[in-house]
Amino acid sequence: MAARTIHPNPTQSQKTLYQSGLNLINRFVYTLRRYTAVYAALWKASLTREIMFKVNFLLWVVVELVWFGLQVAFVSVLYLHTEEIGSWTKWQVMLLVGVAQFIQQIFQALFLINCANLSDLVRTGKLDFVLLMPVNSRFLVSLRQVDPSSLVNALVALGVMGYALAQLHIKITVANLALFLMLCTVGILIHYSLMFILGAVSFWMTRSEGLVWVYYNMFQIARLPDEAFRGVMKVIFTFVVPMLLVANVPTRTLAHTLHSPLYLLLMLGCALVCFWASSLVWKSAIKRYSSASS
């Protein structure tokens, strides 16, 4: 399909391979620039909306901060009474809490509202307007709104991570940081795919608050050290809903406690499977979609 659109004119056969390669790159750059421009416009619209409700913006920052503080307090209280959870020391778990929060907040900033609104789009028939736009509909559905207050909280999470790393006396190399950031991206991809599936299959949920609530419950697993889980729970939260990989693997790479590089492959593999499953769900949802009445 793509190949056909790249070669629109009949004299194509006379052109060299070099030229068609160039054409492909041009096309790619053009698409990339176009989507960047669309995404920039979406950011601008979201920011404009946030500026209209400044107090509300600040209050949401406070809400997230209080909940994050609660997690930190919980870890502190646990370590008043124990030295280790499995082999995890206090500041390793703090680092984990920070990493989990960082990944969650970036995910929330870019994707959460959009995934949560998915069922509303379908129920109200507003998906029509998305499908009519001359851009990839999944792109638009997934990235329509940005939540800048979560970005503020991602910075706070970075602060906690930095403090925990200092307590652990860990020096970060550039290669380590690059690997960590890549793993964070993979973690965000896992969250996004799972939440997207949840959003797409939840038309039967009469209140959309229930959806975000389910998600928050799942995410609480990601903050906990993987060694606490055994048996069925470990299998489910590693292979079915890979919550134990999302934040634990990036944290272990930072803290140099990763047992084997196989975990990196496992995490990447799980992310790709989740993403693949989410595109299946999206395709079948679109196929079945027949707008709303009126």
Binding site: F53, N56, L59, W60, V62, V63, V66, W67, L70, A73, F74, V77, L78, L80, H81, T82, E83, E84, I85, G86, W204, M205, T206, R207, E209, G210, W213, V214, N217, M218, Q220, I221, L224, P225, E227, A228, F229, R230, M233
Partner: protein, 287 residues
């Protein structure tokens, strides 16, 4: 003379009966309305157990690292697991779900008008609806919870005495009222601010940690606990649970129950006061 007194007594009792019936209907209405969301409830009940199961797993790991017979702040592993199971039970029976968000929405959208002009008190009506909602929720959530308890039955402890069980139920009922009135008071802020859900979530966060939902409060350093016990939050969950396990007995128990009752009255009064202030400056939108 005797006749008129008797007559007055009878009219009063008829009035009381009618009032009682009115709120009983409101409760029944709450049951019916909420049963429409039973699939939601089911999902909510199942997914709500996941974080608790995870925290129990963390505790099991901690105990395993310290030897099986060890205690943490006076809690054995079984006591700790029982604590979290009972958190689930109380969460099912007495926790406020989205009553506060509903109340705030009714104020914001002006639909509260229809109650203000009717011969029914909005606060008691909402309390009845809350009770009805909890009954509806329990009929659905009971089954996943029972399964959960069966899975953990090796570590589930019964109450220290039948007396403790009775007091646990009594204290939990007071805790339900306390939770409701706190939520109701916060929801009343909707008379002043447009977006009240942020306040609801902030207060909820404080309740989450200070009521003992995240961990037993006596894991905290003792001075902190002493201060906390003067706030209303520990009386929502922690006190009934401490009564169940026999952590609180004798004089402390009586003082706890009295403080709990006092907080219920204070929060009910505050809720009423703020509601009256709010209605005074209320200019219904739309309606």
């Amino acid at each position: 003379m005797v006749h008129t007194i008797r007559l007055r007594f009878e009219t009063q009792s008829i009035w009381a009966m009618k009032t009682f019936r009115k709120y009983l209907y409101a409760m029944w209405f709450g049951v019916q309305m909420n049963l429409a969301y039973r699939l939601n409830f089911f999902a909510r009940a199942i997914f709500g157990l996941i974080p608790i199961a995870a925290v129990i797993a963390v505790w099991k790991t901690i105990y395993a690292g310290q030897g099986q017979q060890s205690t943490v702040a006076g809690y054995s592993l079984s006591e700790m697991v029982t604590y979290y199971i009972l958190i689930c039970v109380l969460d099912m029976l007495i926790a406020v779900h989205d009553d506060d968000l509903q109340i705030a929405r009714e104020i914001r959208e002006g639909t509260i008008n229809q109650f203000l002009v009717k011969p029914i008190d909005y606060m008691w009506f909402r309390l009845s609806m809350f009770a009805g909602g909890k009954i509806a929720y329990t009929t659905v959530a009971l089954w996943p919870l029972l399964t959960f308890i069966l899975l953990l039955k090796n570590n589930f402890q019964s109450p220290v005495s039948s007396q403790a069980l009775a007091l646990f139920v009594f204290s939990a009922l007071l805790g339900a009222c306390l939770q409701f009135f706190i939520s109701y008071t916060v929801a009343m802020l909707a008379f002043w601010v447009l977006e009240v859900s942020t306040f609801i979530f902030i207060v909820f966060a404080f309740e989450f940690i200070a009521s003992g939902r995240l961990f037993p409060l006596d894991l905290l350093p003792s001075p902190l606990l002493q201060i906390l016990m003067w706030s209303p939050f520990p009386y929502e969950l922690y006190l009934p649970l401490a009564i169940y396990s026999g952590k609180v007995t004798g004089f402390e128990l009586v003082r706890g129950l009295l403080l709990q009752a006092a907080w219920v009255c204070i929060m009910a009064g505050l809720a009423r006061l703020i509601m009256n202030l709010g209605i005074k400056r209320f200019s219904a939108y739309g309606g």
